[in-house]
Symmetry: C3
Subunit: 203 residues, 3 copies
């Protein structure tokens, strides 16, 4: 076994990044509720996104100024931007709801948002385990399972959108929002893949 006197605070920074995603996913869930204060939620989402940006920059700044890193610099960089991507897609979804002035969101979006909430919690739980590289496999397996479930929800929503019940312009708007949520779920899968790659290298 190797001993590496590395700056351990990277784990804290990744945990911090992931905690913003838990927050962001909760805001998405709020957004779906009937009579939700959308402007207010969008503002809190923007704040969460700014905080996530801060966390990402803190990671990158520390990579630049730390001599020994706990794992490859490039993997730290990938993981930080992977977490950042999730937040960007979640913020995009909330943003588009306001931008497109969508009145009613299809109830099926709730399934995608539940997947996002579960992915965010699992990711926040997994980040501290990077320290020991133990018990990470269940993380990426479960994220992959959730991504599959999310994909099924996504396809059900698409079938509904194109069933003829919605006008073309409404389909365009809703599809953009649903695509953002799907992209956020896929971005969690990318995070899980990066964690898997790091674990593989370090094992």
């Amino acid at each position: 076994m190797r001993f590496r006197p590395a700056d351990t605070s990277f784990y804290d920074l990744f945990a911090e990044s992931a905690s913003h995603l838990v927050n962001g996913a909760a805001l998405l869930a709020e957004m779906l509720a009937e009579g939700a204060a959308r402007e207010d939620i969008a503002q809190r989402m923007r704040d969460a996104e700014h905080q996530a940006d801060e966390s990402t920059h803190n990671v990158i700044r520390r990579v630049n100024t730390t001599f020994v890193t706990p794992f490859d610099r490039e993997d730290i960089y990938s993981l930080a931007s992977g977490l950042d991507d999730v937040m960007d897609f979640m913020e995009e979804a909330v943003d588009l709801v306001l931008l497109y002035e969508v009145e009613r969101l299809p109830s099926e979006l709730a399934n995608q948002v539940e997947v996002l909430q579960r992915c965010a919690e699992l990711t926040a739980d997994a980040m501290p385990r990077l320290r020991t590289m133990k018990d990470l496999e269940e993380f990426w397996i479960e994220i992959n399972r959730l991504e599959n479930a999310g994909d099924k929800s996504y396809r059900r929503i698409l079938a509904k959108l194109f069933s003829g019940k919605y006008e073309a312009l409404e389909v365009l708007k809703l599809k953009d929002i649903v695509d953002s949520l799907e992209a956020a779920i896929d971005a969690f899968e990318t995070v899980a893949n990066i964690v898997e790659q790091i674990a593989v290298k370090e094992s």
Copy 2:
């Protein structure tokens, strides 16, 4: 010249992965025929996609358990996921045809599918040549040429879709399908680029 006593079965696994793509591209061609048994084809496509997933996981499992790999671990990982991406996009195309309940597919899709079939054959032929790293240049040059031809077909189909002959909702549906095929072709180009990068490093 270097001597590397590496686990050679990676080449077999990549050849296996590529053979699933030959199968998938043939199913796409079947799908285009008038009166095709779409449900049945879609089921066989899902099976092909599961087998491709298996191959990908076999590669990754072997990377994790092999001490000396024939080329960089990360390149093996990239190539495996590159091949997997092609299959995902081909399955997506078939899936959307059923999901959107598209009655008639524009005949121009046949050109894209021919490009995919040719790319799949070339890739399946090239994988065993990774062993010697010989005669690979013609592979990536030809894939790039095919990708250019595919791009021309893609643009012709877009022009037709937007010519005013189709309703907006039909355009939306067909564009998604055509985009999946185009993404599959682009994913072959990514595979060719990864092979080029590996060959460059090893030469």
Copy 3:
């Protein structure tokens, strides 16, 4: 400080690549003018794109034949393809205007094109500074700022497209064009991120 007797002409090749982007962004600006000779501009754009391809291939050829490179081979490869991606998206935008036979382009596109012109100039200015790795931080900071401004323009245009003033098919066409411009801006940000990563490693 390290001394590296490396082939310095990589800097010239990157500067050459970036100069094609300055040219391409200027052609986009021409395209927006009332009564622009679109066919002629599209032809010059295709020429610029071919030249950019040449530059990219020159970089890759040189990576293959040079023993000592000024920085990591993979980073050279990433930077070359990053610059190439920008050109591809700019050409795509011009191409779609003709392909979709769009009569009138919304005036808001000018903001996106201004961002692209500024990004292209900054990138062309920054490439020679890779030689000394000095004064590059201002480059990536400014590109990130411009990308944010571009994002605001993009969202304003989307709001207009979906406001109900445009027919669904027209929205589809214009959105594709606006998305290409946005993708070009994002590709500049990716270039800036690659430059940042190179600078981090070399510092």
